[in-house]
């Protein structure tokens, strides 16, 4: 029985891995093709089945005057906007979540859960509903088509995720740990920064990962709230489209754009397996 179980387990894992990895292999192979090798039937192995070329990749780094789209600027814009917004969201979201988890708020019928729900409700609305208010808001304060404006909008979008994950995390951290810190001579701020925060890193990493993913993949707001000054990667990639869909450079662009997420995921994975707070309690 255990043998069968092990077999099934690995079978499923391998099956799923194929499912996940195959598109990447497909994209890598396609990114080195040209028009003829893409349209000339299914081929997979370079040199044997088709002659690899770097055309698909070089388009991404050539300036517009030479027929390229030059993604380097937008690439760093995207990284800057996503990471800054995620960092601010985590910082503010963690503080908000701690307060929501530990203190009781009451204003009329509004209580802690209602406030938490208010945060989450920001994500319930379809982006289309938010687009016009955001546009008017940014244009009023003069931040349309700027990195700062995008960061502001992304914080609104990402902070609910951070609050949501961290409230749940803090609720599972026994409040006796905070109390012990108070008894041991910490004032409430020290208790948070010296005891609660160092033990919350796993939760913050998870929240951070979600923020980065949701920030990185956003196309809609980046498309609506920017024009020419500032462009983010997803918007720029769309500019590749012409009368003939250039599958080779689209594949290359797709690979380039998921690369940061893959790197982040690999780094984060190491941290996540380290101990967490609940493990301290029997």
């Amino acid at each position: 029985m255990p043998k069968l179980y092990t077999f099934l387990k690995y079978f499923c894992v391998i099956l799923w891995s194929c499912f996940v990895i195959a598109p990447f292999l497909w994209a890598i192979s396609t990114s080195f093709k040209d028009f003829n090798s893409v349209t000339g039937g299914a081929t997979y192995i370079p040199w044997l089945q088709f002659e690899p070329t770097l055309d698909g990749w070089s388009v991404l780094f050539k300036p517009g005057s030479q027929g390229g789209i030059n993604i380097i600027g937008p690439y760093f814009n995207s990284i800057f906007v996503t990471f800054t917004a995620s960092f601010i969201s985590i910082a503010l979201g963690t503080l908000a979540a701690y307060a929501l988890s530990r203190y009781t708020f009451k204003a009329g019928f509004v209580q802690n859960n209602d406030i938490t729900f208010f945060f989450i409700s920001q994500r319930i609305m379809p982006p289309v509903v938010l687009s016009i208010p955001f546009f008017i808001f940014l244009s009023t304060i003069g931040l349309l088509d700027s990195l700062a404006g995008l960061i502001l909008v992304y914080i609104v979008l990402l902070m609910p995720i951070a609050v949501w994950i961290m409230v749940d995390f803090f609720n599972r951290v026994p409040k006796e740990i905070d109390e012990t810190a108070l008894i041991d001579g910490c004032n409430p701020f020290q208790a948070f920064f010296k005891v609660v925060l160092p033990n919350s890193i796993p939760g913050m990493i998870v929240a951070g990962l979600f923020c980065i993913i949701f920030g990185w993949i956003d196309f809609f707001f980046a498309f609506i709230l920017t024009f020419t000054n500032v462009q983010l990667l997803p918007v720029k990639i769309v500019a590749l489209n012409s009368s003939i869909t250039p599958w080779w450079s689209l594949s290359a662009a797709a690979l380039v754009s998921v690369a940061p997420l893959i790197i982040v995921a690999f780094i984060v994975e190491r941290f996540l397996s380290k101990g967490n707070l609940t493990g301290a309690l029997k």
Binding site: E176, I177, T180, A181, L182, D184, N187
Partner: protein, 357 residues
């Protein structure tokens, strides 16, 4: 130097969590707060620590108004029922945390910490992570952290309850040693427990609390011999004292039409009336001349057997000094040790105790 609580009331909902608590704690003594779950023990300890502010009342410590001092400046120590430590720090860092927080000198910290580690028997574990310790060891770390602080008030909230039996016995003995040591004469120890046996073994002053109200305070002996009322008799005995309504009539003590005794001479002075008749499980004995009872449940506990019995509406528990399993509904003959009978008013107050002075 003493700690005084005056008329502490805490009523967060429509129920009292602490109902007019007035207590006086002297340094160098050990106090055990004995009460059932949710009786207000933890709330009382948290109020003393400052984690909870009472609705009214006052707390004085060394002549100062304790309520005006925030938790982090009170210099109390508390050990929780759960094993609470700082998971991101190792054993040594955990213990020195409060001392560093107080900005104590480095070499002094070193000394206090190694003293405390020595005392709780964690030598060699200094650099271990908390998660790598067993429950008992984790609780020792929490205890060491409290001891190293040399706090004037040490609060222990059922510190042994989550440990397994063997460890509990061992640690309890160590507690007694630690709290009766020479340097402990400056500190007040307050220990909360649900276990009457534990409270008796710790042999300090016992404070019996129920529904946020103090029912009785006194030495273990006094609480055992003269429980102030029927509730105290229930809380301070395990199994709880058997309490049944009975009446004294024509020189007889009558529990029901089967169970009647000739009134022992010690009870002759009691008037003919209804009483709550109390007798400990250990004062019921198997006796062929005794009364017929039917067994409801029998539980074997170590070298004893607890028999839950009934005879019509009279229910009681007897502790039998042997290990034997009984069938449900089996008939047993049980006699009462009449010299150990307590009488309470129907409303609960103690009227007669066999140990009465």
């Amino acid at each position: 130097m003493s700690l005084n609580l005056g008329n502490i009331i805490f009523k967060p909902t429509d129920q009292y969590h602490l109902n007019d608590i007035s207590l006086n704690f002297e340094p160098g003594k050990m106090y055990t707060i004995l009460g059932r779950t949710l009786s207000g023990k933890t709330t009382l300890l948290k109020t003393i620590a400052g984690l909870q502010t009472p609705d009214s009342g006052n707390i004085q410590f060394e002549g100062k108004d304790f309520l005006a001092i925030p938790v982090w400046e009170r210099n109390v120590a508390m050990v929780y029922q759960q094993f609470i430590n700082y998971p991101h720090l190792n054993v040594k860092q955990n213990i020195e945390f409060p001392l560093k927080q107080r900005k104590m000198e480095e070499n002094l910290i070193e000394k206090e910490v190694s003293d405390a580690i020595q005392k709780v028997g964690l030598k060699g574990f200094e650099s271990r992570k908390i998660q790598e310790l067993s429950g008992g060891q984790q609780q020792r770390v929490a205890l060491a952290r409290s001891l190293a602080k040399k706090a004037k008030i040490l609060l222990l909230d059922e510190p042994l309850v989550n440990l397994d039996y063997k460890l509990r016995e061992g640690l309890r003995e160590e507690f007694k040693k630690l709290f009766t040591g020479s340097e402990s004469s400056q500190s007040i120890f307050i220990y909360a427990s649900t276990d009457p046996l534990e409270a008796m073994q710790l042999n300090g002053d016992i404070i019996v609390i129920d529904e946020g109200k103090i029912l009785q305070t006194g030495s273990s002996k006094e609480v055992f011999e003269n429980p102030a009322n029927a509730k105290v008799a229930e809380i301070t005995n395990d199994p709880a004292m058997n309490l049944n309504i009975g009446r004294i009539e024509n020189n007889k003590l009558i529990l029901n039409n089967n169970i009647q005794f000739n009134l022992p001479s010690s009870l002759q002075t009691m008037s003919s009336d209804n009483y709550l008749v109390g007798i400990r499980a250990t004062d019921l004995h198997l006796d062929n001349n005794g009364f017929d009872f039917k067994v409801d449940i029998s539980e074997i506990s170590g070298s004893e057997t607890f028999l839950h019995l009934h005879n019509q509406d009279i229910k009681c528990v007897a502790t039998i000094e042997e290990v034997k399993s009984y069938e449900v509904d089996e008939n047993v003959k049980i006699n009462f040790d009449l010299s150990k009978i307590y009488l309470f008013k129907e409303s609960g107050e103690l009227l007669y105790s066999p140990y009465q002075k």
